[in-house]
């Protein structure tokens, strides 16, 4: 598995064609997701598959459509860079020498903080998926930060690319392009509702199996983006308006934050869900559900917003050219 990863990485370094490099980067994401499954990190694998093999190539391709796929210049200062990289790598290898062996059960990480997560969390939080327990409760503030990062990125992209006007709904060329894709359209009409349904399943099943707000948000966004690609951005933007998305993205963060504030007002610390309801365990359940919902809403709307922004940049530059 790691060997395959290494080959892919070297191929990316070697290739001059950006399009192929992006595709290989997607494959790299998929391979690392499979690696994550093989070392028991199912939640991470799910996310990496959605991000590394889904959103990342998608955004890259959207950008490539604008900037062209060919790389021109030669390498700059290859020797110095190689030296720098070798030094860094050597330092890292040196660092690993005193590390506990791969997979050994008595390494310090497995015997300090994590013990409580593994042994107590099914009782303390009451849900079987420990990753969700840690993510949404023990370290829920990190997750709030994560949502805010996504929100920040959406704001940044919006500030950079937003032109203020929507693409004209179903322009002539767009319709002509779409006419060809009858098979795709029929199939995707069938699939999109399923994708959205699956997103909801992932959203609310995160406590029991792998999944959760982020993955659900990405899948939901993928459904909408698929629609936008096949039926035209104009149509998609009429169904899901950018202004609405902005409000939703903000609301997601606010939902998450206000759960924290409500905890605070009812006498606990920030994000202490046990204060939400008389029964602490039920309170925790409700808290986790609500914040995951906030995560899902923000992630989905931020991803769609970013994609819209890229797409509108494409349309505009075509009109200029």
């Amino acid at each position: 598995m790691l060997l395959l990863l290494a080959i892919t990485a070297l191929a990316i370094a070697w290739l001059r064609d950006l399009f192929a490099a992006v595709m290989l980067a997607g494959i790299y994401g998929l391979l690392s997701a499979s690696f994550f499954v093989s070392v028991d990190a199912v939640d991470v694998a799910f996310t990496e598959a959605a991000v590394g093999a889904g959103i990342f190539p998608l955004l890259m391709l959207a950008a490539l459509a604008l900037v062209g796929r060919n790389e021109q210049t030669a390498y700059r200062r290859p020797l110095i860079s190689l030296l720098l990289v070798s030094i860094t790598g050597a330092a890292l290898v040196l660092g690993t020498l005193d590390m506990p062996a791969f997979g050994s059960a008595d390494a310090p990480p497995h015997n300090h903080v994590a013990v409580r997560y593994i042994e107590e969390s099914p009782k303390e939080i009451g849900i079987p998926n420990m990753v969700t327990s840690v993510l949404a409760d023990y370290r829920s503030f990190d997750t709030l930060g994560e949502v805010v990062v996504v929100f920040t990125a959406a704001m940044g992209v919006l500030g950079l690319l937003f032109t203020g006007r929507a693409a004209s709904p179903g322009s002539a060329t767009e319709r002509a392009n779409m006419y060809d894709h009858r098979v795709l359209r029929v199939v995707s009409k069938m699939l999109i509702p399923l994708i959205l349904l699956f997103a909801l399943y992932v959203q609310f099943h995160g406590e029991y199996g792998p999944g959760g707000g982020f993955q659900a948000g990405v899948i939901f966004a993928a459904g909408i983006i698929l629609y936008a690609m096949l039926f035209g951005f104009g149509n998609a933007q009429r169904v899901v308006r950018p202004a609405l998305l902005q409000i939703l993205a903000a609301c997601g963060v606010l939902i998450y934050g206000s759960v924290g504030v409500v905890c605070l007002l009812s006498g606990g610390n920030f994000l202490d869900y046990s204060q939400l309801l008389p029964d602490p365990l039920v309170g925790r359940h409700v808290g986790i559900l609500v914040i995951e919902l906030g995560v899902g809403i923000t992630v989905a709307s931020a991803m769609i917003l970013i994609f819209y922004a890229f797409a509108s940049a494409t349309v505009n530059s075509e009109e200029v050219a």
């Binding site: 370290r139 903000a250 994000l271």
Partner: protein, 498 residues
Amino acid sequence: MLSHLPILQVVVPLLAAPACLLLDRSRLVWIFTVLACGLSLLISMLLLYQVSQHGTLSYDLGGWDAPWGIEYRIDLLSAYVMLVVSGIATLVIVAAGTGLEREIPLEKQTVFYVTYLLCLAGLLGIVATGDIFNVFVFLEISSLATYALIAYGRDRRALWAAYQYLIVGTIGATFILIGIGFLYSLTGTLNMQDLAARIPDSAGSRTASTAFVFIVVGVCLKLALFPLHLWLPNAYAYAPSLVTAFLAATATKVAVYLLIRLHFSVFGEQFASSSLPLHGILLTLGLAGVFVASLVAIFQPDIKRLFAYSSIAQIGYMIIGIGFGTAIGLQATLLHLFNHALMKGALFLALAAVVYRLGSADISAFRGLGRRMPWTMAAIVIGGLSLIGMPLTVGFVSKWYLILAAIEAGMWPVALLVVTGSILAVVYVWRLVEAAYFQPPENELPEGLDGPDRREAPLTLLVPTWLLVLVNIYLGIDTRLTVGTSGAVASALLGGGQ
């Protein structure tokens, strides 16, 4: 409610940001942003008071005890840095009410304010947290917001500068992430206090040293220590002036804070000095930074760029202070951290006023400005004097302690070099003064500017600038507060590390 202050400090701007987006009417948004910043300033004052009365505050997020949950930990140092950050943020945002309209189109202003608040929340989060991974998350919030803010600059080079900063910043953050990974593999914890207790067990381990090196290099990329500074001048020069004022006074300071925090509170002075020749390296790089950056600054035609290089030089001074490895050296660093935030804030705000009126920060635009914009120029001059380290300004206090530290450590050459560095500062500040007061104004104004634009800057820009200038002078004369605090912090940090 008072016991919740540590978290409110970060959450107020954090949640104000999305709320801002919902308002979406630019005047209203501005008022709201000012309120949010003012509130966080108020909270930071209360926090400083609480900390100075009751000692270090600890706050468990989600009600989970420290090594399992995330802890917020406010000691005197973090309270002080938060006060500086939120104070500068408030002043800059007040100035933005009028200063912004010429730099950023109206329809983008809402998003701009949202990003600004997010950046503030990220910076405060880095300072407040006691959890090393949480540092990474908030570092990324503030960094992403920073890249976006820089890219708002009108010049297209702002985009390129933002991109370069993004690459460097992300490499830095990834290095920090690697370092955290090594530390975790060694100790099994992410809480700073817990780490500090567990790292000595593995002293001498190569893994710990590697972790330390990667974290330090990562942070140094962020704080633009020479020779990792190449992203900074462009980023500062082409960002909107007000953004520059905010970033120059806060972002690098928070990075220095992070370095101090990780160096002294997590690893401890003993570990740092025993495992690596760190002090020598820091001293050398700091000195080199002071000289190279000051020399480059002398030849800059663009004043924003000039002060950007001067920032790199001043960061050099701070690093020298850490390099001594003594309490008084650290005290000098801390003093300079606060003081430099004050002077650079004042300087860049005054520059923002100049750019607002003249549309340019080129040295040629400054000709005769002493008569046209007397108050603004006076602020720049006082800020410049403080930069040089004239007595009666804050700059003097920190330079003084730096030299004291050098003498105490028996490093006469270093003391001498610090003084020489200040003379270089005299040269570049003098160029500005000469242009403003001793050269006739340009006969022809740049095109598109007519009568009213020759006047003094509007009050909303002048008042925040002068507030900072006055604090500069006040703290330069009455040194009890800053020196007392920094002395207490320095001895606590060194004592805690042993």
